[in-house]
Symmetry: C2
Subunit: 199 residues, 2 copies
């Protein structure tokens, strides 16, 4: 007795999804079979729905409809304040705070090597062009909102160097003790940053 071929094929493919291992993919396959054809059809239609998603040519965020994404086409937001972020989920987190009224550049997954990929260089180049075309050569501010870890630090310096001629100000997100955290349990690095960046 081997796993039936369609279940195996399903599990092999689903095991490629982020955070899903081979055993879980098999469990998912069995779950879908037991839930019946109605459930499977729902999944198929959800998958097909993803076809209508486009990538915004200005910020490289995902969106639906229109020419630019909701944020890039929103005149009430400061289009010359640009947060460079790694991925779409970071954008959603930033938006949830309600504290940011600029727009974004989704730079894409940071590579462990701490170098910019050619795709990322193209995105920065495109940002430079936008800044030249729309704001006469200098954006008001570029915020490097990348994860505060060694790779994020290196990538931030690289972007900072590249974009310096194109922004009046280049900043990074604040670093320190998280709200609700305790000084006693903060790691040295975090507490050190909190002291250096006090204010």
């Amino acid at each position: 007795m081997k796993t039936p071929e369609p279940i195996k094929r399903f599990a092999d493919l689903f095991a490629e999804l982020p955070g899903v291992g081979p055993r879980q993919a098999l469990r998912i396959a069995l779950y879908v079979v037991h839930k019946g054809n109605g459930f499977a059809s729902g999944l198929v239609s959800a998958l097909s729905g993803l076809r209508s998603i486009k990538i915004c040519e200005r910020c490289f965020n995902l969106y639906e409809g229109g020419n630019l994404c909701e944020i890039c086409s929103d005149a009430s937001r400061e289009q010359d304040v640009i947060a460079v972020i790694e991925k779409e989920t970071d954008l959603l987190s930033m938006e949830k705070t309600g504290r940011f009224r600029g727009r974004y550049l989704v730079i894409g997954d940071m590579r462990k090597l701490g170098v910019l990929s050619s795709e990322q260089k193209i995105k920065l180049r495109s940002l430079e062009e936008q800044i030249k075309d729309l704001f006469g050569g200098k954006a008001k501010e570029i915020i490097l909102a990348l994860n505060p870890n060694p790779v994020g630090d290196v990538i931030s310096s690289l972007i900072s160097e590249e974009m310096r001629p194109y922004a009046l100000k280049i900043t990074r997100l604040g670093r320190g003790i998280p709200t609700g955290g305790e000084i006693e349990f903060a790691d040295e690095e975090t507490l050190g940053e909190a002291i250096t960046r006090r204010g």
Copy 2:
């Protein structure tokens, strides 16, 4: 800026799958979008492939093609030695050992309450009928291969009681120190069982 509707719909549905939470479902949606339409089509076709999966009317295992599953239609296997198991993945684990030449009854998820569901009662009733029709009223052996934990123990007793008139022998899987395990680190219950069931 909200998550685009098709991504939200996908994430909501995928979050229902076993072991997938809302955040992971969102990450999967973004991953699928970035992989492009070819990858999404692959997932759709894998899902559609699951339609050809049937449930064996004798053992309730999943299979493809034929009238009964591969194991129930295999004359070289002892059809009157029946292992009662909880789920398909347990069946696959049993088969991988190559040590079992009987067949199965997939009884379905054990409920935490330690009672048989009406579906499980129907499955046992159907096993009784098979035993009457095929083996003149008594199977050679019924092996209760359910997980060795309190719920498994209770369910095993219930099944044992129910099936006693229909089997020459009712057994359970061996319990004790796992191969490669260390006596020093075995919990009391496991070591206790190993002593009681020595041989």
